[in-house]
């Protein structure tokens, strides 16, 4: 844990200013009518200018957009970590570790498929807590075992080495990836809610922060459960279950995955999320649109973070809401660019977007 006073005022002012310069919904409508190269040109006139110019000589079309987006995202989130101090740094960094998880997964998969490190490198989003030197060393190693040694000293080491044995037996990457995910989510709530000698705060910004993280975990569980139920895949739901949420416990999940309607009912009956998601749940019952429901989950989470950031102006919630909004922007632009590339119609692309 970092020591020293935290500086939410400073970080909040900067974050809110950046939040205001994100793309508005009208911009997406404009982007939907453009081709990939037009989108790249449009981005050049916005705050992605530097990234588009830097990468413009090496890539073109959708690749250019994608890498520029990733790089910009990494730049902004690195800034967040640079600015924040003390307790605020703790709270922000534990959330941004999801990029560490993503990068480690990418690197491990790269090693597994013996991809050229150069190519792996362009896919990384260097926004997490792992510093550049560690990542560069990870890119140099040839075996997964060595990669795990490189991350010794980080929170991922123990669970990765445990999962490595299983990997050696089965040769599948799933245990390693699950270990990373689980480690991330378990640390998310660590020492804010369950530390010994400290009771969980009931009100105030920290309590809401916990509620937000629980919502994130719940939605992740709900998403996994719905996907399992929908695909009918014969997988053990417990292997994908993440602890810490309030919507499911492990036995609920085992029972509900077999019965799709009961699962939807279970979500609708929950008093914390039922109202907020009622529209999306209705659509989920009628149509086969899992994607729309997942987007509704994203939108609900985003709105929730926004509400929090106006209830507690000088807390971590404004930073969280910015992180979510920025991710949404990047994902939307990527969806538009990819959609145009494969020739989807405008209305089809619009369905892929998360618009509030």
């Amino acid at each position: 844990m970092s020591i020293g006073a935290s500086n939410p005022e400073y970080v909040n002012a900067r974050v809110r200013s950046r939040r205001a310069s994100l793309f508005a919904d009208e911009d997406y409508r404009k982007l939907i009518r453009m081709g990939p190269s037009e989108i790249a040109r449009f981005m050049e006139e916005t705050e992605y200018e530097r990234e588009v110019n830097a990468l413009g000589t090496r890539f073109s079309g959708v690749d250019l957009i994608e890498y520029a987006l990733n790089r910009n995202l990494a730049k902004h989130f690195e800034d967040l970590l640079d600015w924040s101090e003390g307790r605020l740094y703790d709270l922000v960094s534990r959330y941004l570790r999801k990029f560490d998880v993503m990068n480690l997964k990418t690197i491990i998969r790269g090693i597994y498929t013996e991809t050229d490190p150069e190519e792996v490198q362009t896919d990384l989003i260097r926004a997490g807590e792992l510093d550049d030197r560690t990542i560069d060393r990870l890119l140099e190693v040839d075996t997964i075992e060595d990669a795990i040694e490189v991350v010794s000293g980080t929170i991922f080491y123990e669970s990765l080495s445990a999962a490595h044995e299983e990997y050696e037996e089965t040769g599948a990457l799933v245990p390693l990836e699950n270990a990373l995910d689980r480690e991330f989510y378990e640390h998310l709530l660590e020492d804010v809610s369950r530390s010994p000698g400290r009771t969980q705060p009931q009100e105030g910004p920290e309590a809401r922060y916990i509620e937000f993280l629980q919502a994130e975990i719940d939605f992740r569980n709900a998403r996994n459960a719905l996907r399992l139920a929908r695909s009918g895949a014969d997988l053990d739901p417990a292997a994908y279950y993440i602890e810490g949420g309030v919507l499911f416990d492990a036995s609920d999940l085992n029972r509900l995955v077999g019965d799709y309607d009961a699962l939807v009912d279970h979500i609708a009956e929950n008093k914390r999320y039922g109202d907020r998601l009622s529209g999306a749940l209705g659509r989920l019952r009628e149509a086969d649109s899992l994607i729309q429901f997942e987007h509704a989950l994203d939108a609900a989470l985003l709105q929730y973070a926004d509400t929090l950031s106006s209830i507690y102006p000088a807390s971590v919630s404004a930073v969280l809401s910015y992180i979510l909004a920025k991710e949404r922007e990047v994902e939307n632009i990527r969806a538009i660019a990819r959609g145009r590339e494969v020739g989807l119609s405008e209305s089809e692309i619009e369905e892929e977007l998360v618009i509030l």
Binding site: N7, E9, Y10, V11, N12, A13, R14, S17, R18, W83, A314
Partner: protein, 90 residues
């Protein structure tokens, strides 16, 4: 004030009217000084947060310099109002 205290120490048993007058003026001035000091401390504490936010805003957008400056010095009115106390008492 120290003078006033000296008088108290010297005239332990009986206090002349003059000395009592001096003493009360001394106490009043000490109280006024304390009021200004505390107000300045409070203003400083308030400005800490506002200043941090203002610097953040200016870092993102140079045009925020003037609004930021104004917002930052607003709590200074606390000290000015506390200064009034000095004149009322004095």
């Amino acid at each position: 004030m120290i003078e006033a205290l000296d008088i108290v120490l010297q005239n332990g048993e009986a206090m002349s009217p003059e000395a009592a007058e001096n003493l009360s003026v001394g106490y009043a001035e000490a109280a006024a000084a304390l009021a200004v000091g505390l107000a300045a401390l409070a203003a400083g504490y308030a400005e800490r947060g506002i200043g941090a936010a203002a610097v953040g805003a200016i870092a993102e957008d140079d045009d925020m310099f003037v609004p930021g400056l104004i917002m930052t010095v607003l709590p200074e009115t606390l000290v000015i109002l506390a200064l009034v106390v000095v004149f009322i008492v004095g």
